[in-house]
């Protein structure tokens, strides 16, 4: 089985994000880069499936040159090889462009299944898994927190709010976006870390994937024009007194101050 895992390199969750002076992006000087946490669930899902069914796990990542570090983390966890899309031509892709590139890799590699995170925690778009599935014309299930497979069929569970889970049977090949609870991503072991550098890394250009003009900043249909900090949130207010009075006061505040009722 050829298992594809898509991952993205994002700023560490502990980084204090600041927009760059000209609003064109974020200050990247002090940023520590990590694998987007949901993507770690995807890597683990891929590795577990390989342990059960055999085959190989190929991680795919699109981004600038440093994205190789993120792929290496997955290689150290046990993935077999990586495909890096760090060519100039891919930079500035919007979710559609990114999905075109990833879908093209999936075809080229002949993946039988794809795992990815439910969303990358930098821009939180939550679009790529669905668009890739659309482009490949594969079924998909998003926010998967339980995965079992038997031959051609996978049975997954996904939270749908209210503490409820939806159970979905999906025919492979398919795309699954993974969320918390699916598994406990393994640590990269020291022997794994030492081996990571010698594992194969392939690079494709837009031309290799026959995607000239369809990826990168020039092809983007969504453009990010400026980055700003959200407005500081005023601190919370505690209501005091009898419960009945508190409720009345709360309703009044929601009506008159917050104007949400």
């Amino acid at each position: 089985m050829k298992i594809g895992v898509f991952l993205k390199q994002v700023p560490d969750t502990e980084t204090k994000i600041r927009p760059a002076g000209d609003g064109s992006g974020i200050e990247s000087g002090d940023v520590k880069w990590i694998v987007s946490p949901y993507d770690e669930f995807a890597v683990e899902a891929g590795l577990q499936l390989k342990e059960k069914s055999g085959g190989e796990v190929v991680v795919v990542s699109l981004g600038p040159a440093r994205t190789l570090d993120a792929a290496r983390t997955a290689l150290a966890m046990g993935a077999d090889r990586a495909v890096i899309l760090d060519d100039e031509g891919f930079q500035g892709s919007d979710p559609l462009g990114t999905s075109r590139a990833l879908a093209a890799v999936a075809r080229k590699e002949g993946f039988d299944i794809i795992f990815c995170g439910r969303q990358a925690i930098d821009e939180d778009n939550n679009q790529v898994p669905q668009i890739v599935a659309g482009l490949l014309d594969w079924p998909h299930a998003s926010w998967v927190n339980s995965f079992e497979s038997e031959g051609e069929m996978a049975t997954v569970k996904r939270p749908i709010g209210g503490g409820k889970l939806e159970v979905v049977k999906v025919r492979l090949p398919a795309v699954f976006s993974c969320t918390k609870g699916l598994n406990e991503p393994r640590y990269a072991s020291l022997p794994g870390i030492m081996k990571a550098k010698s594992k194969p890394v392939a690079r494709y250009t837009p031309a290799d994937l026959e995607l000239d003009g369809q990826v990168g900043a020039s092809a983007a249909v969504v453009q990010l024009t400026s980055y700003q900090m959200p407005q500081a949130r005023p601190s919370g207010r505690m209501l005091e007194g009898e419960v009945g009075d508190q409720v009345k006061e709360l309703v009044r505040l929601l009506r008159q101050e917050a104007k949400v009722l």
């Binding site: 570090d69 072991s189 020291l190 022997p191």
Partner: protein, 388 residues
């Protein structure tokens, strides 16, 4: 911002492998150690299984030879491990583990026989056997050359009599790397032996109640006509003082590294607290007197880190390093006292309350200028080296 992970023009030059290992170490400490720290502190102990868990992860054998189950990595992996290990916030646990990996066992790797390595080193690396280092005695601490526990040769055996105290892991150890007197008075009559604790005549006395480092056990040990085979002699007879001094270098480097990492963690805590806690209508970090104090400490911590890294670099390259290591231990451990004092003050009343980490750190860090060679002894070593 994580100063320790920034690239520097001086050593260390972190490789990708180091960076990946830091993530593994941090994830492990945050997931498997830190959540248990409160319980370990309250119960004054942790399960022996933790040695096996760390062994399984490879953390007890980072620098140890691969033939015996170690990973044979450069010293910077140990540096990273220690820097992350402090995040468990259980100094006692950390001390127990570093005694196992970097204080009681490196000397076996260095001078042990094949048989000794198989019997003691290999199972210490997996965590199956727990190790202790037994040098200090009720009447002799700093003055190692004067230690009194005797090992008398009797045919193919040695017979050991005496007492040790302050021994970390002492109540649970399977073996002790033990300093004994085999010859005349003074440093020329000391040997190091490997002592299995199931030997008849050995007993663990009191567990000592300590100011801090609560999760580790610190024991008094008694040796009453304990007979062990002569093949447990480490290296040459009567060369023990020299081996002990060699071995102390690694131990002191661990102390310096953990002092620096511990200070940095407290400093980071202070930043968070200082932005949140308000007095007189503003965050306490907005008082210039505190900003300046914290900046002074940050500067000194960075200086301590650079001195310690310098010592690590010499140690890793097996160059003369005694002076640098003694300086690093002296400076970093002494600085830690000042840093924790001021940061505890910065936390106000909460700094005195157990729920805040700084309260525990205040007790735990106190050990640093005492254990593993006192500050005064570091000064003696540096002075002697300079012909004073």
């Amino acid at each position: 911002m994580d100063a320790a992970t920034k690239t520097a023009s001086l050593p260390p030059e972190w490789t990708d492998e180091h960076t990946m290992f830091r993530k593994t170490a941090r994830d492990f400490v945050e997931k498997e150690l830190a959540p248990q720290a409160e319980e370990w502190e309250a119960n004054k102990g942790f399960s022996n299984d933790m040695f096996k868990r760390l062994g399984e992860m490879g953390f007890l054998g980072l620098g140890h030879p691969e033939e015996y189950g170690g990973l044979g990595l450069d010293y910077w992996f140990t540096v990273i491990w220690l820097e992350e290990l402090v995040r468990s916030r259980s100094a006692g646990f950390n001390m127990a583990m570093t005694v196992q990996s970097d204080m009681a066992t490196p000397v076996i790797a260095d001078i042990g026989t094949e048989e000794q390595k198989q019997e003691f080193l290999a199972p210490a690396i997996t965590g199956e056997k727990i190790a202790a280092l037994g040098i200090s005695e009720p009447a002799v601490g700093s003055d190692v050359a004067n230690l009194q526990t005797t090992a008398r040769r009797d045919g193919d055996d040695y017979i050991i009599n005496g007492a040790k105290t302050f021994i970390t892991n002492g109540s649970r150890a399977d073996f002790i790397t033990l300093g004994v007197r085999t010859g005349d008075a003074g440093f020329g009559g000391i040997s190091l032996m490997l002592f299995p604790t199931d030997t008849k005549g050995f007993s663990v006395g009191r567990l000592l109640e300590k100011v801090g480092n609560h999760s580790s056990d610190t024991a008094e040990l008694a040796f009453d006509n304990c007979r062990i085979p002569a093949r447990y002699m480490l290296g040459q007879e009567n060369m023990g003082f020299y081996y002990i001094m060699q071995n102390f270098q690694g131990e002191r480097l661990v102390a310096a590294l953990m002092a620096v990492a511990g200070m940095q963690m407290l400093w980071d805590d202070a930043m968070d607290y200082g932005n949140e806690r308000e007095a007189f209508g503003r965050p306490i970090l907005k008082f210039q007197v505190w900003r300046h104090k914290l900046v002074e400490h940050l500067t000194a911590i960075e200086a301590a880190r650079r001195l310690t890294y310098y010592a690590c670099d010499l140690f890793e390259r097996e160059e003369p390093c005694v002076e640098a290591i003694s300086m690093a231990k002296l400076y970093a451990c002494d600085l830690a006292q000042k840093v924790v004092y001021d940061i505890q003050q910065f936390f106000g009343g909460y700094g005195y309350i157990e729920e805040y980490h700084v309260a525990r750190a205040f007790r735990d860090l106190r050990l640093l200028t005492i254990g593993g060679g006192t500050a005064e002894i570091m000064k003696e070593i540096i002075g002697k080296g300079r012909g004073m």
